[in-house]
Symmetry: C2
Subunit: 304 residues, 2 copies
């Protein structure tokens, strides 16, 4: 577990803007990606849970990633989500990401069938790595049992790293369970452990973690960045508390529509409100509550 960690810092699971007809709004998306990189993010995770990635078609994901790189965003800063239910689809997305030059991929386990064994998930990930068959592949396991229901246990992580030390280099822990993240950090020093929950970001860094992949990086990359830079200073606790306060305006709603509301508000751009089913947008009352909440916490909208 002593592989160099190519990726560290604050990564945004980038929100995906849509046209009114629900098509991916590529220009607005690329602009948002670039905005995040100049306002605090070290890198980006297109096609995470917050990106409504699993509401995007396979072809849409391939096309969008190509456009992003063509538009000048360095693939060295990208860790796209590539995990699908079926091995062939996961292989297609993963191979494309590697061939596009992406520094890493964020890999969901196969998530349709429930109650599957560690052995089954191991075989699935192994099959993907073998089929992609590219020394450049760097996999970050995506552990998000509250949504995927299927996840990566400690013993499964250990087994995958032993079998593929060059390829399996890190994890995003979105379990919401600090005990789990602490166990990963303590058991696997040198492994690239990102905190999926922003509330554990400081604790992650203190225990040797490499940073955060957090939904709120879409709206407060600047604040998250400051915590990453200052975690060893006396300021750190205060910044961590401030991050928790800044979640309040949207945290009681579905995070994706809430975050899109914040962006629509600060950018004066209602096009950002569109979500793809099965998500639905906030009601007028909910939108108003989010906007009112921004004033209450003196929301530090990051301007480029």
């Amino acid at each position: 577990m002593s592989q160099p960690q190519p990726l560290r810092g604050i990564f945004a699971p980038v929100l995906t803007p849509f046209h009114a007809d629900l098509g991916v709004d590529i220009p607005r998306w690329i602009e948002h990606c670039k905005h995040l990189l100049v306002t605090g993010c070290h890198g980006l995770c297109p096609f995470g849970t917050t990106s409504e990635a699993n509401s995007l078609g396979m072809d849409e994901r391939i096309e969008a990633l190509e456009q992003l790189v063509v538009a000048g965003v360095s693939p060295a800063l990208l860790m796209p989500g590539t995990g699908a239910c079926a091995i062939p689809d996961t292989v297609r997305l993963t191979r494309h990401a590697v061939e596009t030059g992406c520094a890493g991929v964020l890999l969901l386990p196969p998530f349709y069938y429930k109650g599957v064994s560690d052995e089954g998930i191991f075989r699935s990930v192994a099959e993907v790595i073998e089929r992609v068959g590219d020394d450049r592949l760097r996999v970050y396991l995506y552990h998000i049992p509250p949504v995927a229901q299927v996840g990566f246990s400690l013993s499964l992580i250990e087994r995958l790293v032993k079998a593929y030390p060059q390829a399996v280099v890190g994890i995003k822990d979105s379990s919401g369970d600090w005990a789990n993240q602490e166990a990963i950090l303590r058991n696997f020093p040198g492994f690239g452990t990102f905190s999926g929950g922003e509330r554990f970001l400081l604790d992650n860094l203190r225990l040797g973690g490499v940073g955060g992949i957090n939904a709120v990086a879409n709206t407060i990359p600047n604040v998250l960045r400051s915590l990453y830079e200052l975690w060893q200073t006396p300021e750190a606790e205060r910044i961590q508390e401030r991050i928790l306060a800044l979640r309040k305006p949207f945290q009681e709603y579905a995070p994706v529509p809430g975050l899109k509301q914040i962006i629509a508000h600060f950018r004066h751009d209602p096009a950002w409100l569109t979500v793809r089913p099965p998500f639905v947008g906030l009601t007028e009352a909910q939108s108003a509550a989010v906007v009112a909440g921004l004033a209450e916490v003196d929301f530090p909208w990051a301007r480029a």
Copy 2:
């Protein structure tokens, strides 16, 4: 809800055989499909949960369905599963099924995001129907909350049928909850309600349901067919009980590896044992227990 029901009877969610390299074994699959149709099944649901459909890639599903029809299986007998997480993928699979002439499609709700609203699922299904935009489309809602976690509530069914009376013609209820299936049957007479659980098959038929889509149809289509034919006779109860007894050999294991073991045994064809990750095959001890169980229940393997 008075649309003619094109599909009735016993349907098999067809198991998918794989080569040793995990590729879909198309010839063996087509042979199995034809075998089921001559030994009891009225029709077939390729790409159901039992088919490991969600472990098959989008392209594999398109290709396999084409090969099946080219091989002479009438699409009028087919209700392939076409529901994926993302609307574009679902539209692609659904449009292809309709254009191939399939009598119906079995539609999972978008199943990655959890805790989504009925409104969100409604919009998702509506978007699929509108985009496919073909009068020939007949949708059977696939309600399987134990696996998909996301499902179709009674009020959502009602709303979908009202909005799309020609397209939304039925449901497969795999909730495992008889109270739910009974409520569907009583609230929506004339709707094409299939029992996803074989243990409710007789009760389904007695309350006006149209039949069953059952994993065990892969191994005992003859017995299920006899219940469908004789449900109004004094024999019915005995046949239903016999079906329950015939589940025993595999029911304590994951159903897919267990069913594949039964087919491998009776066909003397170990190629049937292969499953795709995240499933894993049975251990030798489990396989032996399944085979021993077959003798105990005098398993009536259907020979063509």
